[in-house]
Amino acid sequence: MSAVAETIETVSAVTEGGYKWGFETEIETELAPKGLSEETIRLISARKNEPEWLLAWRLKAFAAWQSMTEPGWARVTHPAIDYQAIHYYAAPKKPAPRNLSEVDPELLRTYEKLGIPLSEQAALAGVEGSRVAVDAVFDSVSVATTFRKTLARAGVIFCPISEAVREHPELVRRYLGSVVPPGDNFFAALNSAVFTDGSFVFVPKGVRCPMELSTYFRINARSTGQFERTLIIAEDGAYVSYLEGCTAPMRDENQLHAAVVELVALNEAEIKYSTVQNWYPGDAEGRGGIFNFVTKRGACRGRKSKISWTQVETGSAITWKYPSCILQGAESVGAFYSVALTNNFQQADTGTKMLHLGPDTKSTIVSKGISAGRSNNTYRGLVRIMPRAARARNFTQCDSLLIGDRCGAHTVPYIESRNATARIEHEATTSKIAEDQLFYCRSRGLSEEDSVNLIVNGFCREVLKELPMEFAVEAQKLLALSLEGSVG
């Protein structure tokens, strides 16, 4: 119990205010020249010793990207992005270490500052008995991977995708781009052309992954676009829970982040994908912050496959993100649990797509949007029932909470049903934190800020309970941190 109480207890200890993780690590980086061209892509591919087929794949994506334009339908505004002013490749100058003793101590200190949970720091430090495996991504190159052996014994492959390209080319080639094709959308095409690293997970038939898998992403070098590529495959009857967490250092200029995540679940396989996103949101005046344009999609390819996305989004100046499920297999199940919190001048346009193709498919959407300051928070979701999806069911719940009177909450649900036997339910509410709730808490001794945190955490409860425990605690800290200064 008392995860919320812990939040209240820890929040004062967490920070003196402002963005805790605003610092830069002094690690020399080797940058590719600014700008994007076939040459840049050839350089990235060569640096990573990639096979010819992957280079061809990248170049095809680049060609597609050149013929595309940025999507303009989201409820976000930002200055034009100069794609030629970005470095598309940055890596720590030293070669990737083979073991932890070779890891730059500066990097380990960075993890410490990031507040990576103790057990995971222990994991990074090689302490035995820790249960969470961390494949830490630091500026495009994975520098430390732990628990390989335990995972290998179970037959689970968990490694940087660049390594998977070398070690397991047949798997990568079969599945890469099979859920999010290279030309899927503008940002996915860009990612396909220039992605530098990310995680690869393969859980073979009948295997339950023996631990939660965790990756920390972090943007570090100035003006470096971050293009992660993650691919997770669960074969028949397999199960895996994957955790992704992000923080980014303080920055004046805007930074582009365009990740792609692909999930493939086969017969009766289950993938749980959880995210806590805390990229730098910009300052209180709306200067700086990360532009986060992410494509995340999972395919339930088999019978009774199951994919659930859980996200807590508190960071980024702009969030453009719609983790989706393609429910192909009969009786497959998709879920999307989301908390999106915006403060100051942040803009979030996030939601999901549930595409019901197979019969008896089910999906659940629970979205909690919290807007404070002058921010704008949009839920945008699509539920599409295809003709073959007999008896498909969807339940959608979208709740918005407003803090103050200068922010906005918007709900844009698209519902398309082409099968008369489908059942679709949609509920939506918008509320303000009521003065009587605040007063009630304060009259019991809670400070105004603690009261707001308690009420917000209560509002998000249905989503937070979907997160693994450790993540839930971190998520609550983030919510509290992100709301600092939004009341009073």
């Binding site: 919320v4 109480a5 209240i8 809670l446 105004e448 409860r461």
Partner: protein
């Protein structure tokens, strides 16, 4: 010096004067009842004492244990030992009752520089308090006041009071809408705390509650002023003659 000293207190809500000069002195260890017709300012007095926003004090002073109560934030008043049992307890969706109470208890303890209470010890105390109040442990698992019946909400207030152990409890029409069994539970909760270190202002419209919580003094509030004070017998005579006579007398 009394625990609570209210002198010439005037307050308005949205520019409308509600309290027009309240004087009241509550010595430590005593229970006083405040009675009065609807609209006389009873709840306003409770909110002003607890520090609710929107209740503007235009004149007068309130001393709590010698300190200027009106200068304190609501949470500081709670830490100082003041507790308001709400007439309409507020729902907090998604917030567990046990969590809420432990958070509140520890916030108050921190403010008093007392050590925080751990989860196990808290549960033990909470269960004991529930037992004393003849309430179900189910209460701890539910979200704060969400889906509670009117009676359950009021009992939850008394449960909170029992755990927070205030020096001064203000009960704002806690008896309204209660059946006789619930009324007894509420009364038992208050009576169990009675002693040298516990004082209460029991705000009520009816004599009924005062059969179970026998006050040391009864004050009658009318049109924002205390128009009559007396012993418990005053409540009884009000029950017979109603407020009308008193109010007319005061106006004359």
């Amino acid at each position: 010096m009394a625990l609570l000293e209210i002198r010439g207190l005037a307050a308005e809500v949205e520019g409308k004067p509600i309290l027009r000069g309240v004087d009241l002195s509550l010595p430590e260890g005593e229970v006083h009842a405040i009675m009065g017709p609807n609209g006389s300012g009873k709840s306003t007095l409770a909110y002003v004492l607890a520090g609710r926003e929107g209740y503007h004090v235009s004149a007068g002073s309130v001393r709590f244990d010698g300190e200027d109560l009106l200068a304190m934030d609501p949470e500081a008043r709670a830490a100082a030992g003041l507790f308001l049992a709400f007439q309409y307890p507020v729902e907090l969706p998604g917030v567990g009752n046990a969590n809420f109470l432990r958070t509140a208890l520890n916030a108050v303890r921190r403010a008093r520089a007392e050590p925080e209470i751990d989860a196990m010890k808290f549960l033990k105390e909470a269960r004991a308090a529930l037992k004393r109040l003849s309430m179900s442990e189910e209460m701890l698992k539910r979200n704060v006041n969400v889906g509670f019946s009117g009676g359950e909400k009021k009992r939850n207030e008394i449960f909170q009071m029992a755990l927070l152990r205030p020096r001064l409890a203000i009960l704002d029409e806690t008896d309204s809408g209660l059946d006789i069994d619930a009324l007894k539970i509420v009364a038992n909760g208050v009576n169990a705390l009675r002693g040298e270190k516990f004082s209460a202002l029991v705000i009520t419209h009816y004599q009924r509650l005062l059969d179970h919580i026998v006050p040391d003094k009864v004050h009658v509030l009318s049109e924002g002023r205390i128009v009559r004070s007396g012993g418990p017998e005053l409540a009884l005579s009000l029950e017979e003659s109603g407020y009308a006579g008193l109010v007319a007398e005061a106006a004359a």
